[in-house]
C-alpha cells in the first residue's frame, strides 16, 4: 500500500514508522489496530444498553432496577455466579458452532437442532446402558454419540452447501425444526418413560450416572470442556494447515479451488466440528442438568449462541467471556421476571436489540483514524 493512500483516507499523521522501530512500539501499534475489534462491539453493547434503558423507561420500568437484578441474579454472589457459569457452558459450545463455519464464510444457525438431537441421542443411548455399564464408560459413550449426531446433523447442511449450493443458513435452521420434531417423535412415542405422567421424557439416566461438578464449585464439567474446546479450536483455526486452508476458503472460494485445496472436505469438516460442539452442549444439558431428554432441551441456547458468536466476532477465545456475560443475563431472567413483573421475553428483546445494534456497528470498521495508525507497518 503506497504512502499516499494511507495519508488520504486516514489523516493519520503519526502513521509513518520511525526507522529505529522498537519492539515495544510495534506491539503498541498492533494493540491499537486490534483494539478496534474490541472497542466497536463494546460501543455497540453500550448503545444497545442505552436503547434498552429507553425502552424500559417508556414502559414505566427502571433501568437501574434491571441492571441491579442482572447483577444480583447473574454475578452478585458466589451462588449466582456459579449458576451463570453453568448456563454459559451451552452458550460457549453453541457459539463455537456458529463461529467455526463463520470462519469459512458460512452463516450456520443450526446449533439449536444439533444441541437438541445430540442431547436426545445421548439420553437414548444411555437407556440400555444404565445399569449394564459403570457410569464412566456410559458417559464416554453418551459424549461420543452426542458429538457424532450433532456433527452429522450440521454436517448435512455443510454438505448440501458444497455439493448442491443450498443456502446453508436456511438449511441449518430447517434442520433445527426437523431435529426438534424427531426428538418429540421419540420422546412422546417409542422412548417415552411411561412411569412419568407429567412431561413426556426419556427414562432418567439416574443420579449415579450424572456428570459431576468441577471440584470446589457447583459448576459442571461442561464449562471446562467448553473453554478447552474454545482454546483447541482457536489453535486449530490459527496455527494449523487446516485452519490456514479454511481461512483461504473463507476469504476467496475460487482462489482456494484454484489452489487445489479440498474445499468440499474443509466445508463439511467445519460444519461437522460446529455440529459436534452443539451436540456436546446437548450432552451436558442431559447428563449434567436435566438427567433426561425432553422438550426443555430446546431452551434457546442455540439461538443465543448465534448472538454470542457474532458479538465475539467469531473468535473462539473471545466467545468465552461473552458467553459468561450472556449466561448471567439468562440466569437472571427468572429474577427479573418475578421482581419487575416483566415477561420472560424481556431477555429476548434485549438480545435482539443488541444483535441489531451490533450488526449496524459493522459499518463503523475502518472509519476511525485512531485504529488505522499502525496499519501501514502491517501492510508492508
Amino acid at each position: 500500500m503506497p504512502e499516499g493512500a494511507t495519508a488520504a483516507d486516514g489523516m493519520s499523521a503519526s502513521a509513518s514508522p520511525p526507522a529505529g522501530e522498537t519492539a515495544m512500539g510495534e506491539f503498541a501499534r498492533r494493540l491499537r489496530t486490534n483494539s478496534e475489534y474490541f472497542a466497536i462491539p463494546l460501543f455497540a453493547l453500550i448503545v444497545a444498553a442505552m436503547l434498552f434503558s429507553l425502552f424500559l423507561l417508556t414502559i414505566g420500568k427502571s433501568p437501574v432496577d434491571f441492571v441491579s437484578y442482572v447483577w444480583r441474579g447473574g454475578f452478585g454472589s458466589a451462588f449466582s455466579f456459579q449458576n451463570t457459569l453453568q448456563r454459559s457452558a451451552p452458550l460457549i459450545l453453541s457459539a463455537l458452532a456458529v463461529a467455526i463455519p463463520a470462519r469459512i464464510g458460512l452463516i450456520m444457525i443450526g446449533g439449536e437442532g444439533a444441541l437438541v438431537l445430540g442431547g436426545f441421542a445421548a439420553a437414548a443411548v444411555a437407556t440400555p446402558l444404565v445399569g449394564a455399564l459403570p457410569p464412566l464408560p456410559t458417559l464416554a459413550i453418551m459424549f461420543v454419540v452426542a458429538a457424532l449426531v450433532g456433527a452429522v446433523w450440521v454436517g448435512i447442511a455443510g454438505y448440501l452447501r458444497y455439493a448442491r449450493g443450498v443456502n446453508e443458513t436456511i438449511a441449518s435452521l430447517l434442520l433445527t425444526y426437523i431435529g426438534v420434531a424427531i426428538m418429540n417423535f421419540f420422546v412422546e412415542g417409542a422412548l417415552r418413560d411411561i412411569t412419568n405422567p407429567n412431561k413426556p421424557s426419556t427414562k432418567p439416566i439416574g443420579e449415579a450416572y450424572m456428570v459431576g461438578k468441577i471440584p470446589g464449585t457447583e459448576v459442571h464439567w461442561g464449562f471446562a470442556v467448553g473453554i478447552a474446546l474454545a482454546v483447541v479450536l482457536h489453535l486449530l483455526m490459527t496455527r494449523t494447515t487446516f485452519g490456514f486452508a479454511a481461512r483461504i476458503t473463507g476469504g476467496n472460494f475460487r482462489a482456494a479451488l484454484a489452489q487445489g485445496l479440498p474445499v468440499g472436505k474443509i466445508i463439511v469438516a467445519c460444519a461437522m466440528i460446529a455440529g459436534a460442539c452443539a451436540g456436546i452442549a446437548g450432552f451436558y444439558e442431559v447428563a449434567a442438568i436435566q438427567g433426561r431428554a425432553n422438550a426443555s432441551l430446546a431452551a434457546g441456547y442455540g439461538f443465543t449462541g448465534i448472538l454470542v458468536s457474532f458479538l465475539a466476532r467469531h473468535n473462539p477465545l473471545a466467545i468465552v467471556p461473552v458467553a459468561i456475560l450472556f449466561g448471567g443475563l439468562v440466569a437472571s431472567g427468572g429474577l427479573i421476571q418475578r421482581r419487575m413483573e416483566m415477561p420472560d421475553a424481556t431477555v429476548l428483546v434485549l438480545q435482539g436489540l443488541i444483535f441489531i445494534v451490533l450488526l449496524v456497528s459493522d459499518t463503523l470498521y475502518g472509519r476511525f483514524a485512531f485504529f488505522r495508525a499502525g496499519e501501514q507497518k502491517e501492510r508492508t
Partner: protein, 305 residues
Amino acid sequence: MSGAVAIVLVAMLGGAIRVSTPFMFVALGECLTEKSGRVNLGQEGTLVLGAMVGYAISYHTGSPWVGVFAAGLAGSALGAMHGAICRLPRVNDVAVGIAMMLFGTGVAFFFGKPYIQPTAPRLGSIPFGAFSDNANLRSALDVNPLFFVGIVIALAMAWAFRNTRWGLTVRTVGDSAAAARAMGISVDLVRFLATAGGGFLAGIGGAFLSLSYPGSWNQGLSSGQGLMAVALVIFARWSPLRCVLAALLFGGAGAIGPALQSVGVTQGYYFFNAAPYILTLVIMIATSSATRSARDMPGELSMVK
C-alpha cells in the same frame, strides 16, 4: 376405507387453503423484497409480530380488519428497519435478517403476553361449501377472504412487474444496481421500499395466523412458516404466481398431519408435523445447484450462489 380416504383428501384440501394463506403472504412479500436484490430472512419475526399486533388490535377495536391492517403496518416497520440497516456499507443482509427474526419474535412475545388469554374477534369466512350436506366438505370450503386477497395481490404483482414503470424499476435494481444507478434510480430507496412493502405483506400473513387459522395468539403460533416461505420463493423462481402455487403445495404438506388426525390416525404425528420442513429442504436440494445460479434469479441477490 374409501370414505376415510375421501375425508382425508377433503380435509387436506381445506387444510391446504387455510395453511397456505400465511405462506402465500410471506412469500409474496419476500418475492417483492428479493426482486429488488435483497434478502430479508427476518420474515419469521415479522410473521410473529404481525400475528400478535393483529390479534391485539382486533381485541381492542373489535374489528379484525383493522387488526389485519395494523399487522401490516407493524410488519412494514420491521421491514423498514431491515431496509434502513442494510443500506449501510459492510452490513450483511442475511445476518441482519437473523437479528430481526430474534428481535421481532422477542417484541411480539413481550407485548403479546397479556393477549394470550382474551378472545379477539376473528375474521369471518366465506362458506363456499354451503351447497353440500357433507359437514367435512363444508368446513373445508369455508375460505377466508384473505386467501383471495392474496391471489389478487399475486396477480397484481405479476402484472406490475411486467407492465409498469414501478415494476421495471424494482427489477432493474434487483438485476443490476449499477445499471439502476446509471438510470438515476436511487437503489437504496427502492430496496428500502421493497423491504418495507414485503414486511407489510408478511405482517398480514401473521394476522391470518392469529385471526383465522389456527385463530388465536400464543407463543408457539408460528414455527418456521416465515422461514419456509423465504425458501419457497427460491423454489417459485421469484414469480408471484408460482409463489401462490408453491404456497398451496406447502399448505397441503402442512395439512397432512391434522387431516390424518381427523380420521384417527395419530401415529407419526410428529413426523407429519415435520413434513413441511423436510419438503422445504428436499425442494431446496432439488432446485439448487453448486455450479449454476438459480434460474430467473435477480442478479444482485447474494443469498443463493
